[in-house]
Subunit: 403 residues, 2 copies
């Protein structure tokens, strides 16, 4: 997927200055469901949150806590989203932060809280309390892989990526773990991503780099278009690697954001590949738009079209559905300038069918990822998004009655 | 579904002054695929067309032809959408109109052309030519049901509705037929609807009534959100019923638009019930919005959410997905004011779970239609939409490789 970033078990504790642990707190029927990530010292931190107006309690509380730009710990539970839980939910999220603060020896506002799971059900606070105590007792540099496992819901595998980059005369590390658009028991698709680095970065630089990295990775994947109430991406920078401060020199800055983007993009690729019921992955590229926003909007409309997604599933080079999707995207454009490519096969020119080889187009649908490219002829802006197909598996996972 | 309008085989020729016929022209592998509807005289006509920027050739040509507000005939083919076919497609659509004009004795610009089927493939003009000649030879007052059959694609049954209303001292008739969000061979979901009336109505009044009726019926259904390149709703008014002219008295006006809306709404109900793979139908009502546009947008976001649609399929009263969908709709609102009802069960209040009976909520999901009601507390505007569930059947129908 990208240079410099690679899958690595335990990635989140690959950077120096972090410990992690996970336990089975009993929030889910079985398996680990509570993860704790702790920095050796309070450190610069930044986050981006869901744009959904229905924001879960942990999102509200974590946003408050990160106002100052510093954090010491992150606690994540699966099995319960603590969303649509009213004042009690907010109190529970704050209590969770307080419990972590007590257990690891920091202030409550230095704790980031993240949850994923069923909506509308309160957090089982006794289990959370016992889980936090147990996890705090197990924190170690080797706990990263356990943590990556504990944050999953219907994901079929953990998602862990690490990268290294030059920070002045030293090498600095980045680690990331994520959970994807999976459902629990089953419920809301949620994307949670956590990053650590041992580079020395201030809160402002950290926020800017995270926003840049997420905008070019995790914000460019879609499984079903259903933005969650709980989405969150967080980064903590320990500075324990001893390199020069990022942002002191322009090159460091770019190297850091580049490595972070690579890490986030690798995680994004893992998420979409592990999308609910996914059997195929596609990259939709839009070129020649008037604005990047236009390009992104068209790419997203194509990538989320149920007709396009079922065609991907069936391996059907049905570019008419791509044309129809871009035509209804709401973007001003002249379809008589639109060219469409499937892989390297140019299937439509100036909005109309070309005389292409059907077997070649069908072969393009067997590539991995499938590459859809649209040229609008309106301007010079570009956009892209990764998506997966729509299969029986998606219906199965999401139609089941909650247990 | 509504008062005054009822399913009726042959509905499109129920109003006086119209004849219809259908033939198997060989555009589809089998079955009738070309329908002709002819008024005894040129008569006022109006239409609404797809908002997709990728407009099929028949949409472009029919819009041109209806500029003057009069028409004599409608020709519809299934099996080929004549979309994304470039200049040749436009020439073919114009040639189709010319062939009908010759066959029935009118001007080419008095012919409305509609197509549905595969995108990016040219119309087989020899088959169209022979089909039009054969259909023209069979036109009759009894041909309505055949026509309703010939316009279908993956629809499992024809959709025909008729109504009567008082036009002054006489009774006037309305007939409608439609094809739904079905795919052919398989390709673009397309909605085509045709209406006739023997009331006396001018082109302007006809257009206004059609826009009103469609806005409150066919524009309020969604199967997968994929607006087609070929959507079209057309009405012809023969005046053959002999009633007073609609619009002369305010009451007549309202009676006509009311009956037309009832007819269109009954067809809309049939379409969504026959949606691809549909096993359940739901009505989403949004109240307390600031504007109707806000209410409609939220209703549509809920109705098109794959997570909501799979929950409907599974009979899961998973209102958290409804809350999450409205939170991402893009409408400014305070989720802490949102109430959600499933049937008569009040499941969420002020954005948080209520202490409701789970079996009662589950029972609400077994109603037909399932009723989802959302109260925003932002204003007094309302909106609604009908949708269906997302099932294996949808995936099966749309994932197949084109034959």
């Amino acid at each position: 997927v990208s240079q410099g970033a690679a899958a690595r078990p335990g990635a989140i504790t690959f950077p120096l200055g972090f410990r992690a642990a996970a336990v089975a707190a009993g929030i889910k029927p079985r398996g680990p469901d509570l993860a704790l990530l702790v920095a050796d010292r309070p450190c610069p931190a930044a986050a981006v949150f869901t744009t959904n107006r229905a924001q879960a309690a942990p999102v509200v509380v974590s946003r408050e806590h990160l106002q100052g730009g510093y954090a010491r710990a992150v606690v994540v539970n699966a099995g319960c989203a603590n969303a649509a839980t009213g004042p009690r939910g907010l109190a529970d999220a704050r209590e969770t932060a307080r419990l972590v603060a007590e257990a690891v020896g920091c202030r409550p506002w230095e704790v980031v809280v993240a949850s994923t799971g069923v909506i509308g059900v309160p957090l089982p606070m006794e289990k959370i309390r016992a889980g936090i105590a147990a996890a705090a007792a197990r924190l170690s540099r080797e706990g990263g892989a356990d943590a990556a496992q504990a944050i999953l819901t219907t994901d079929t595998r953990p998602k862990e990526v690490a990268a290294e980059f030059a920070a002045g005369d030293r090498s600095a590390r980045i680690g990331g773990m994520a959970k994807g658009a999976g459902m629990i028991a089953p419920n809301m698709a949620t994307l949670l991503a956590f990053f650590t680095t041992d580079a020395t970065v201030g809160p402002h630089g950290l926020r800017r780099a995270l926003q840049g990295a997420v905008g070019d990775s995790l914000n460019r994947i879609t499984v079903d278009g259903d933005t969650s109430t709980n989405d969150m991406a967080v980064i903590l920078a320990s500075g324990a690697g001893g390199g020069s401060t990022i942002g002191d020199a322009a090159t460091d800055d770019a190297a850091f954001e580049g490595a972070l983007t690579d890490t986030a993009r690798a995680l994004a690729g893992m998420i979409v590949r592990d999308g609910e019921g996914a059997t195929r992955v596609a990259e939709v590229r839009v070129e020649g738009a008037r604005t990047e926003s236009d390009a992104d909007r068209i790419a997203r409309t194509i990538a989320e079209s149920p007709l396009v997604k079922t065609a991907l599933h069936g391996g059907d080079p049905n570019w008419g559905r791509i044309l129809a999707a871009l035509g209804r995207s709401g973007v001003e454009l002249d379809v008589h300038r639109v060219d469409i490519f499937l892989g390297d096969v140019w299937v439509a020119e100036s909005g109309a069918a070309r005389d292409y080889e059907e077997p070649a187009a069908a072969a393009a649908l067997r590539e991995d990822p499938i590459r859809i490219r649209v040229r609008l002829g309106e301007g010079r802006a570009r956009g892209w998004i990764w998506t997966c197909d729509l299969s029986h598996g998606y219906v199965d996972i999401n139609a089941h009655y909650r247990s």
